[in-house]
Every structure is written in C-alpha cells, then in structure tokens.
Symmetry: none
Subunit: 105 residues, 2 copies
Amino acid sequence: MDKATSRKLAAAGWTTGDAQEFLGLSDAEAAFVDMKLALAADLRARRLEKHLNQTQVARIIGSSQSRVAKMEAADASVSVDLLIRALLKLGAERRDVAQAVAASV
Amino acid sequence: MDKATSRKLAAAGWTTGDAQEFLGLSDAEAAFVDMKLALAADLRARRLEKHLNQTQVARIIGSSQSRVAKMEAADASVSVDLLIRALLKLGAERRDVAQAVAASV
DNA sequence: ACACACTACGTCGAATCTGACATAGTGGGG
DNA sequence: CCCCACTATGTCAGATTCGACGTAGTGTGT
C-alpha cells in the first residue's frame, strides 16, 4: 500500500497495520462462508417445509438433483448467487433472504 | 394488481403488460436484480463514506478499478458473490449486507 | 435379502465470471 | 483551452461455476 493511500485510509478512521489488515480479510472470508452456510441451511429448511425432494426442487429451479444436494451442503462449487436464486425461485422474499444472510448457522 | 386478478385476466385473453413481463422477468429474477442493484448502491455509498476512489477500493478488495466501476454499476458481468465479498472486505458486517439485501434501491 | 426412494459425491464440457488492460468519457482547477 | 484525477466501457484469456450424468451410500418397507 502506498503512502498516499495509507494517509487517506487513516483520515477515514482506518488503521493500516499489516496484522489488522490480514485479520480483516480473514474476518471477511469467515463471514462469507458463514453466510453461505446459513443460506444453504435455509434452502434445505424451505424444501423440507414444502415436503419436496431434491429432484422436485431441481425441476423448480431449473437444475439437477446433484446440484441441489451440493447447494444444501454449501459445496465449494456452489455460489451465493445460485443459493439466492434458488431461494427466490422457491418463493422466498427478499426479506427472507436478508434474514438468512444475517442469521447464524 | 394481484396475481389472482392477473390470472383471471389472462384466462380472458388479456396480457397484463407491466415492465417486468415485457422484459420476460419472473418475480424471482426481478427480486434478484433489485438485490444486486441495492448491493451495488451500498458498495458505492460505503466507498464514498470512506473518501476512497475506485482504484483504492480495487487494491483493498484485490481487483481492478474497472471492475469496481462495473460493481457499482451492477454490470451483468458482476455476481452477487463479488459484491458481497467486496462489501465484507470494506468492513461491512453481515447485518449490513442483510440490510442491503432487503433494501430497495 | 431385495427393491425402492432419496441423497451424496466425483467428473466433465459448456457457460459464466473475473482481473487486467486499453481507452474513452467526465468534471474541475489553473 | 489544457491538464489532471477520476470514472465508465469494451475486450479477452484464464479461472470459476453450472447443469448433467453416473454411481455410490443410506434408510425404509416388504
């Protein structure tokens, strides 16, 4: 990070220590993973609530059973995009998604 | 117009031509793009609040100025994944992201 | 034990997304 | 007008994610 950038960040109330920066990124990554887990859990809960199996959900959202399984498992090959789109296609409202995003697993 | 009314009109041979339908967007898709717009707006707001330019944000989140511009514009080539990861790296908490997800643009 | 319904997991070609680069556009000072 | 800092847009090769398929695992009823 150059000095000008550092100065501006400091002016905005940031500290530019290397350790903190590292921890900040870690926090961001951890929060992202937790969000993904929460969304995946919500997807499964929503499916079970509707008494659907993964194959039926796959048809509704335009995918395959195997991918639905990976979604619910929060597999590395599944994006948050996909999870959110799936939830919305299952009838979730934006506020429902928001709640899942904020929720702990 | 509620869905029941819309269905009745459709049965009578009418199309209920709102912008959504014209563009061929389902409710789920519309909600998704709205979410994306809200996240993009939040990213820009957060950057401006910190008095950073797009190049500085790009360094923080590990990307390029052009991509940050596209993020803020909610460009089609930008995923919700990327927007959320960017917000978190800029110091947003999960509840902040949730609020953006639920918010209207 | 068998059949059946359901879920998990590895793999793959195709589609999509990403960072980067180049370049164009915009809006203030001087 | 000319710089200058900043933002927007087009493009592209490489990376990631997607749906799909095959198959293995798990539980349940007969």
